[in-house]
């Protein structure tokens, strides 16, 4: 922009919200003394259609190339004023606001003189910044209408089907030789005791029969490049590798069960099995003559090494305990637990159901966990029942350990390939635990199912549908408009140290073939951390440049720099 700045200042009375405490005419008058300000006027409500019209007229009449509105907060009103500027043919990034209401008149209602002084300062600061503003443009990118789903378990298949139903093509990548994931191992599923196989069958059929879903078995992701709408994925299988373009990626890699070797006699004492193994036996009918069973909860979770709760084990134990009781009501079933996490209506009901059937619940203490040793005829369990305040000794036929779900060992590689984070437990970490549970900070990549954290099938399915719906949004739009408040790298200064790449939570920065950082501006969210951290000071943060920040700071101190 080679033109000299010509700034127009519009000072809002906001009825009496501003004008009642701040001397607006004085501010208008003061504005006219500031460098490069060629026009200033007061408005009753600058945000009214009348006020907006006046801005447009002034731009035209006074040939303004920067506009400052002193009124309320940019968080709510900036888009409105920027719209007015655009309508008058002025780039919207040539607009700046001074917040003299929310952060001035309203909070200094009893000090009108000081409030007026502050308002002047705020206008001066806004003008100082406005003088340095440059126009920005908002590039648009096309979104490739194909999804990539990694993981062919229940979550992945659900997500793939959901995407297909939204009208997108899907590549589904599964590392095993068949679809189904962990459900292939399970017997029945709580709370309805539906057989896992029955749940899987229609899903697999749907996936396999869909012409829009390409299933890649025995395959793993080798590389992903690109960004939202334009990822280039390469998958590798024994047959070789294949590349394709996708617009979005859903991570549904599931989780593994812990192999509880060394815990509670597992692997050492005959008759100690996991819940999964119990289900296998029940499924095959190979349980045999089992008269008494002790289930040990939290077998490997909620401990120092693995501090998280595996969420499903309590309900799973209730389900299996009930099933065992149904088979043979004479069986003695003990569940040794620390805290029962049978959350929600249905699961609480399952707990009651088990109790009604005579399943004995024994609370143990983390400090004094049950000890399983070899007894005379089978395992022997000693447990300090904390509610009874006494030690129980049980010699069951079977000890069943509720081993937790643990992260898929492939997570680490995948997180590096996709540049999305894992939490300290090794599960994928979403962008925001409350509000963005299915997104990653990186646009266009989503997560669902037990890849995210231990969860039961219904929850996984909900998440999968949710993730597919999130992924569908940009693909349905077909285009995305990027913001102009982005970082830009001066390639002559960049030494390629990679700090910006490391710090960018959005993977918006990559290295080019010369090892120089490049910002993918459509992915950049404009936080500016990269710019503030670049050791070579090679990154400029558009719209919040150092010069602009310093000019504002200096203006705040009453210094105007020409």
């Amino acid at each position: 922009m080679s033109e000299e700045p010509r700034i127009g200042v519009f000072v809002c009375h906001c009825g009496i919200n501003i004008g009642g405490y701040v001397d607006v005419p004085k501010i208008v008058e003061y504005s006219m003394t500031l460098p490069d300000v060629v026009y200033a006027e007061p408005n009753l409500y600058t945000c009214s259609s009348d006020g907006l019209q006046k801005i447009k007229e002034a731009i035209e009449k006074h040939n303004l190339n920067r506009v400052v509105v002193a009124s309320c907060t940019p968080r709510t009103h900036e888009p409105l004023f920027q719209g007015a500027c655009e309508e008058a043919g002025l780039n919207k990034y040539l607009f700046e606001m001074a917040n003299i209401r929310d952060q001035c008149s309203w909070v200094h209602m009893h000090e009108p003189e000081k409030a007026t002084q502050k308002a002047k300062d705020l206008v001066r600061m806004a003008v100082a910044k406005a003088r340095l503003l440059t126009p920005g443009d908002e590039p648009e990118i096309d979104i490739h209408p194909t999804g990539l789903v990694i993981g062919g378990g229940v979550s992945g298949m659900t997500a793939a089907l959901s995407l297909m139903n939204q009208g997108f093509k899907v590549h589904l990548v599964e590392k095993a030789d068949k679809l189904g994931g962990a459900l292939n191992e399970l017997g029945t599923l709580f709370p309805t005791n539906v057989k896992a196989g029955e749940l899987l069958r229609p899903l697999i059929k749907g996936v396999e029969e869909s012409p829009d879903i390409v299933v890649h078995l025995n395959s793993a992701l080798k590389e992903v490049k690109g960004f939202l709408g334009n990822f280039e994925a390469e998958i590798e299988s024994k047959e070789g590798s294949e590349r394709f373009e996708v617009g979005t990626v859903i991570v549904a890699t599931g989780a593994d069960y812990l192999d509880p070797v060394g815990l509670f006699g597992y692997g050492e004492v005959h008759g100690v099995v996991t819940q999964l193994e119990l289900e296998q036996k029940m499924k095959e009918g190979s349980l045999g003559d089992v008269k008494s069973v002790v289930m040990v909860q939290c077998a490997g979770s909620r401990i120092e090494e693995r501090p998280y709760c595996s969420r499903i084990c309590c309900t799973e134990a209730m389900k299996n305990a009930s099933l065992l009781k149904e088979e043979d009501p004479d069986r003695d079933i003990y569940i040794l637990y620390r805290d029962l996490q049978t959350y929600g209506i249905e699961y609480t009901e399952m707990e009651w159901d088990a109790k009604r059937k005579g399943v004995k619940l024994v609370k143990y203490d983390k400090a004094r966990p049950p000890v399983v040793t070899r007894g005379e005829r089978g395992p022997m369990v000693k447990v300090w029942a904390s509610l009874l305040n006494e030690e129980l000794t049980i010699e069951p036929d079977l000890v069943v350990l509720s081993a937790p779900l643990v992260p898929n060992p492939d997570n680490k590689t995948l997180s590096q390939q996709l540049k999305v984070p894992l939490n300290s437990d090794g599960f994928f970490m979403e962008a925001h635990v409350k509000l963005r549970p299915l997104d990653f900070a990186t646009d266009g990549i989503f997560v669902c199912g037990t890849a995210h954290s231990p969860k039961e099938v219904a929850e996984s399915i909900s998440q999968a549908k949710g993730a597919a719906s999130r992924a569908g949004i940009p693909m349905a739009k077909g285009r995305v408009r990027a913001a102009a408040i982005t970082a830009v790298v001066d390639e002559d200064r960049c030494c390629g140290c990679g700090i910006c790449i490391e710090l960018c939570p959005y993977n918006a920065i990559t290295k080019d073939e010369m090892g120089i950082a490049r910002v993918t501006s459509v992915v950049c969210k404009g936080c500016g951390v990269c710019g503030a951290s670049c050791p070579e000071r090679a990154i400029t943060m558009r719209h919040f440049t150092n010069e602009q920040l310093e000019a504002q700071g200096l203006a705040a101190l009453g210094r105007v720099v020409d």
Partner: protein
Amino acid sequence: MAFEPNIVGFLCNWCSYAGADLAGVSRIQYPTNLRVIRVMCSGRVEPAVVLSILAEGADGVMITGCHIGDCHYIDGNLHAKRKYELTRRLVEKTGLKTGRLRLEWVSAAEGQRFADLVNDFTEQIRELGPSPLSGTTPDLGLLLKVRAAKAAAEGFRLRALVGKEEKTVTDGNVYGEEVTQEEWDKVMTESVETEYSRHRIHIALTEAPGSVKELSEKLGMGSQAVLEHIVALRQLGWVDVQEIRGTSPVYVTMEVPQ
């Protein structure tokens, strides 16, 4: 007239700025001394920018961001904290009171907290009195120190260390070894001292050429240390010998185009 501090605040757009707006909407009253600069993220605030504002005479600088874990940009506030720590170290070096700086977390819902904070900080600054760099007769010696601190904050070394700190201390280093905060701080302390001292010398030589002895007196630094820094600065091509005056080499700055 009572002392009215000039305080500059950097507020992140998503939490703190919204919190400040909420204070307004709620008509919570607080002192008028704060002048707000909106930034998208508290992690955007560079030590060098803060130092240049201090150099211009601000009585206090406040940086506020989202609470840890709430950052709109995931972890920008963690970086803000690292950067703030560097600013604090450098300010400490100059002798300016570190009480003139403040980093706080304010959420969008904490209008009252924001107002309390402004109250508290304004009071704190009032007690500290005007910045020696404010007014028409700023303390020129101190000004040079703050400029040296700013130059140090703009240099590769400190910026690189701060840029790498969060990741290395949290996730370990490239060897997969754990790096404790104490270990990192040790390097930081050394590096801040070195960089600050070198810029002190460089700036002093920009003002006027001088010998090691003169620099040592002027800067209150041991002459042996000054010489060691001069050796390094010559290696960097920042200073060179202008002439030998008596038994003293006199050093000048070389042009270092940016």
